[in-house]
Symmetry: C2
Subunit: 331 residues, 2 copies
């Protein structure tokens, strides 16, 4: 492909190219490079409107070739009910970071979904107890399914509990996961019932108040707090944050939009209390879990470098397989 | 087109759809809406690398339909010499601002070029003397050509001088413009020679030091300072800024990256000295030129709303004409 062709990948193309294993590898590499100080800090631009808003997340990563990517996502929570459209829609523009030319434009949905789950898997690999076998998924939308699958690739999960404010959703996901993972999956009507028996708990809801508190969790649990990605969303009670080892994806971002934000506002945690950014642990600059008893919370707000890494992966695979539509962008 | 199709427009498509007259109309409307307080402030995200950088400019505009657009541009000044590629390359992602879904992805080059020239034309219409007949173009790249053409659509230009540090470039543009505008166009080897005889002067160079000072300019001149779009670029001497009526495209942007920035740093101008933003004048909230003697400088740093307005125009025209490639973005 010459410097003036742009590759276009639809949602169907992206879905056919992305595997969760590839995705976990790419996201782990992104966190490692960031932790090693080999990636410049990514940037975020947000614009809010009445019913939703747009976010642009941009970053640069050297994964053999230097890539820049900007993800442009619209986030309109009323979409499913009002228009039968997904809440989050958008595209990723991938560019050569040495020449500036656009290489590809691809749908962002599966990239966002899988890179988010992949970050949890990377965190679980480094922060969950090695003997973790039982998982609770709290929030049974598509992200809940992808999270369970991703964690199963890095931990020997033998049992899953699903929880959702909609019992029907929890039961539907339990059935889906039982079929996909071929292990027992049970919907629970009380979150604490599942979590107290679990080694790992993922919260991936749209909650705006705490749904998981210190009393709900057994010692040694690894918690991935995935849902809160703006300052109004919250899942983890400040008392649980205050009594856990906190690992952020990006400290500055978590301090303004993650569950860390609410713990800081509650006055029970300070930035300095955060143990590490995930990249520092992946890069072996800081230790991960110190004992089988401590509770570790991974505060995941979504890092642009995850998108760059996964978009680059999709692009390179598409080029090898001759997938997608190429447009001539010569003037 | 249903909500899950995305329209793709190559540079060739965009060039075939855009006319400078349409573009001036769309950009004037964008400034008016902004001046009337009917558009939320646009956003900018920049990432710098060794040889260049990327900029994302995003905005929302209601032009009958609500549009969001994010322009993702790479800016690598060594590109022409090193790779035979344009300095600036990129795409614009246009979305429905009520639902968030991407509507179109189009090449950004002609949109950037024409919306920049269109802003000058809008400014000239409101800020040049009505009897303006003579124009100097300083900086004879492609932008110089487009600027001259755009100004000729709103003023009865009868003579043009071209100036460039490369005499050859100045002479080439003089020939091109003479053919295109069918008026006398003369390359000058001394900028002041041209400007002193001119009613309007456009500076659109990549200069990093002042090239136009108070002594070079006759009373009553309208100056469009277009080249400086980052904090290191500069074209207008602070003494000229200090003795002119200054109109900014976006005050906050000009104060950090325009010629205004350098005048503030030099200590001869304060933000409060700026007469108006162009939108306020277009919206008739503030008066424009007050006399035939005053020098007026339009500091143009490039506003995301210009991109939104022109991208929406291109999209709507393409849809009417059945132009471009449509991809199915249903999952």
């Amino acid at each position: 492909m010459n410097a003036e062709e742009v590759l276009l990948l639809t949602p169907r193309d992206v879905a056919g190219l992305l595997t969760i294993d590839d995705c976990i590898g790419a996201v782990e590499q992104a966190f490692r490079l960031y932790g090693e100080g080999k990636a410049i800090p990514p940037g975020v631009l947000s614009m809010h409107m009445g019913d939703g808003g747009f976010h642009v997340k941009a970053g640069v990563l050297d994964v053999g070739r230097h890539y820049f990517a900007a993800k442009v996502n619209g986030n309109f929570p009323e979409n499913p009910a009002r228009f039968g459209l997904p809440t989050i829609q958008g595209v990723i523009v991938l560019c050569d970071a040495r020449k500036g030319n656009p290489l590809a434009v691809m749908d962002s949905r599966d990239v966002t979904s899988l890179r988010t789950a992949a970050a949890t898997a990377v965190a679980a690999k480094h922060l969950a107890r090695p003997d973790s076998r039982i998982l609770t998924i709290c929030g049974c939308g598509n992200q809940g399914r992808v999270q369970a699958v991703a964690i199963s690739r890095v931990c020997r999960i033998q049992r899953v509990f699903t929880y959702d404010t909609s019992v029907q959703q929890a039961e539907r996901l339990a059935q889906e996961l039982a079929a996909e993972l071929r292990i027992p999956v049970t919907a629970v009507s009380d979150l604490a019932t599942g979590v107290q028996q679990s080694d790992i708990c993922v919260t991936c809801t749209t909650s705006r108040q705490p749904i998981l508190a210190l009393g709900d969790v057994s010692p040694g649990t690894f918690i991935a707090a995935v849902g809160a990605d703006n300052s109004e969303k919250q899942e983890i009670h400040p008392d649980l944050m205050a009594n856990s080892k906190i690992v952020a994806d990006i400290l500055e971002q978590c301090a303004v939009m993650g569950d860390l934000h609410h713990a800081i506002v509650a006055g029970v945690v300070e930035r300095a209390d955060v143990h590490a950014e995930l990249g520092e642990i992946v890069a072996a600059k800081k230790a991960g879990r110190a004992s089988d008893e401590e509770i570790v919370v991974f505060d995941s707000t979504g890092m642009a470098l995850q998108d760059v890494a996964v978009a680059a992966l999709v692009y390179e695979k598409a080029m090898r397989q001759g997938c997608g539509v190429r447009l001539n962008f010569a003037a």
